[in-house]
């Protein structure tokens, strides 16, 4: 038991309690629905944050890993008739495997070239999803995916499904926190700061980059299978370039290199379009304006803004400023 384990466990525990309490304050099933999608997006954002926020490697193709696992479990559980847990395992494994294969040549690229390569990969996967109609159902989507059932329990109510995704999300957050504090996390941050310096210090750069890339794809894979068995329907439009960009925005808006920031960014961006639905046609304009002003007025993201606010309040009270959870994990944004 490392010294940080207890601290991380209590934080993730508090997070889990908050997640489990959330439905008590929500009036109806519609909000639970949004919470589920928010939790699923937060799961991907957590993984992408490890890659982008900590290791400093961008991926503009993460929607592809999310989609691959969703389609894999959809295909396995309907056409192949496999049991749902097997389908889900297969889905996550496929995402991780593809990430491993594509990561080996791609992660040698740097900066904008890496962005382009992952972007291109995402677009290619999306086009294949659209065109292989006999496997994926094409643009009109894959219908008839069974609702999740594990060990004889069918998660047919949205509430039960929410508790499941919330539990998975809390576990993923705990895993991320521990990973960041461990030797691996230090190596990732070293790579972000300076690859050359990290290499000189004996960090296996290529190995760690590939590891964190595959890991973040696996996070997206878990999210993908949860998504497929929740909506019981998947279509290629959910896994396109647009969603990949949105995932990056979640991480950056939340505050790079902050676990809680990524989660907050994901829930915020999931709920925002729903909140703007009342504005009908101008909702997209407001969405864009909010995005631009968030970047302009919160350059360190939500986590950065929260810790800044806390510092200011602490100063006013005259006491010591306890840093926000986000800030302690190393402000390596940038």
């Amino acid at each position: 038991m490392r010294p940080w384990h207890a601290r991380n466990l209590s934080r993730a525990g508090l997070f889990a309690v908050a997640l489990f309490m959330a439905p008590l304050f929500l009036p109806n099933e519609y909000y639970i629905n949004i919470l589920i999608l928010g939790a699923i997006n937060a799961l991907i954002a957590l993984g992408l944050n490890l890659l982008l926020g900590y290791a400093g490697q961008i991926s503009l193709g993460h929607a592809a890993f999310f989609g691959l696992s969703a389609y894999a479990t959809a295909y396995a559980t309907t056409r192949l008739g496999l049991p749902i847990p097997a389908g889900m395992g297969l889905g996550v494994a496929l995402s991780a495997l593809v990430a491993w294969l594509i990561g080996m040549p791609t992660l040698r690229l740097k900066g904008h070239y890496l962005a382009m390569a992952t972007l291109g990969f995402g677009i290619i996967v999306n086009i294949v999803m659209n065109e292989t109609v006999d496997v994926t159902g094409g643009p009109s989507g894959f219908v008839g995916i069974p609702r999740l059932a594990l060990f004889g329990f069918i998660f047919d109510s949205d509430r039960s499904y929410y508790y499941l995704t919330a539990g998975v999300l809390a576990l993923a957050a705990l895993f991320s926190l521990n990973l960041i504090d461990s030797r691996v996390g230090r190596a990732l941050r070293a790579i972000h700061t300076s690859e050359r310096a990290a290499q000189t210090a004996g960090v296996d750069i290529a190995g760690y980059k590939l590891f964190v890339f595959v890991l973040s794809a696996a996070f997206a894979g878990v999210a993908g299978v949860l998504y497929a068995h929740f909506l019981c329907f998947v279509a290629p439009s959910s896994f396109g370039f647009h969603f990949s960009v949105q995932l990056v925005v979640m991480v950056v808006l939340g505050g790079m290199a902050s676990v809680w920031g990524a989660v907050a960014g994901a829930f915020f961006l999931t709920a925002l379009p729903e909140a703007l639905r009342g504005f009908e046609e101008v909702d997209i304009l407001i969405y864009g304006a909010i995005l631009v002003s968030c970047v302009m007025y919160m350059p360190m993201g939500m986590a950065g803004a929260a810790s800044g606010l806390r510092r200011r309040l602490g100063r006013r009270r005259g006491g010591g400023a306890p840093g926000a959870p986000g800030s302690e994990e190393g402000g390596h944004a940038g």
Binding site: T106, K110, M116, A117, G120, H242, V282
Partner: protein, 292 residues
């Protein structure tokens, strides 16, 4: 057989010209500011859509409509720099990129509100009678597109090598700090680069509109292809961006003709990925020297 190949080549070059101009817009902004501008595709969309708008709603003739549209897009580009990029110029690159993504969502949303979701087209610049060339039927519009692209490239080349503003922009791309020490206003060059990118992108959009039609949402894919063009040619190299654009257009056109039209968009990206695995800095890019 040869006739088909010639046909694919011409149509590839025509579309590639727009990709090249879009890529050139990316390059100009990247060189002076270090930003990848994800709203570049929306400039191309605005060029096409505003030409249609000025022609049909204001009743202008084709030439004035396009000129006005191109100038208006340049103003949009400059306004974008002033309102969103300038206030946060010290921010981290990823924040600036996300600001440009936000702007692209705004522009697309505004275009949808103003012009709706319909598809529009512009009449071709010169006649419609196809010209026979090596067995292929070439639309006069293709020749117009190529000629205008060539003229614009020459003009830009002259601008950068002879005019004081062009040289100042080049200086910013070499070394921003040194340029500012020499009395060049880097902030103004950043403004110019956005305006000029809007201009170039809009020209690309206007020459493409008669060939492929246009609507409020064509910007994203065109922007991605333009980005692919400059990566293919080597980021920061204007010549590379133009050649990269033409190459992507040709690859797409041949891919669609000989392999499958369904995978038209995927084809260029597959080749680009394979190329990056072999040459991580693009075709004409210099291998970066990293300072520790």
């Amino acid at each position: 057989m040869l006739a088909a190949a010639a046909q694919y080549l011409v149509s590839g070059l025509t579309v590639g010209a727009t990709y090249g101009l879009t890529g050139l817009g990316f390059t100009m902004i990247f060189n002076t500011t270090g930003i990848i501008n994800f709203a570049q595709g929306e400039f191309v969309m605005l060029g096409g859509m505003m030409s249609v708008f000025f022609r049909t709603w204001l009743g202008l003739d084709l030439f004035s409509a396009i000129t006005l549209a191109v100038l208006a897009t340049a103003v949009v580009g400059a306004a974008m720099e002033r309102l969103t990029i300038r206030p946060i110029q010290g921010a981290s690159p990823i924040n600036l990129v996300i600001a440009t993504i936000g702007v692209s969502i705004l522009i697309r949303g505004a275009a949808m509100l103003v012009w709706g979701k319909d598809t529009f087209s512009l009449p071709p610049f010169g006649g419609t009678a196809p010209i026979a060339f090596a067995g292929a039927a070439v639309q006069p519009q293709s020749l117009w597109a190529l000629a205008i692209t060539l003229a614009l490239l020459t003009a830009l080349k002259l601008f950068f090598s002879t005019s004081i503003h062009g040289k100042a922009m080049l200086a910013c791309s070499c070394q921003r700090k040194a340029a500012s020490l020499m009395g060049i206003s880097v902030a103004r060059m950043s403004l110019f680069s956005f305006g000029l990118s809007g201009f170039t992108g809009a020209v690309g959009g206007a020459i493409l509109a008669p060939i492929t039609m246009t609507s409020y949402d064509v910007g994203m894919m065109l922007g991605l292809k333009g980005f692919a063009a400059c990566i293919l040619g080597g980021l920061g190299n204007p010549f590379g961006a133009a050649v990269g654009g033409l190459l992507i257009g040709i690859m797409e056109s041949f891919g669609a003709g000989y392999v499958s039209s369904a995978y038209k968009d995927a084809f260029a990206f597959v080749v680009l990925l394979l190329l990056l695995f072999v040459r991580p800095s693009g075709l004409f890019g210099k291998a970066g020297v990293e300072r520790v």
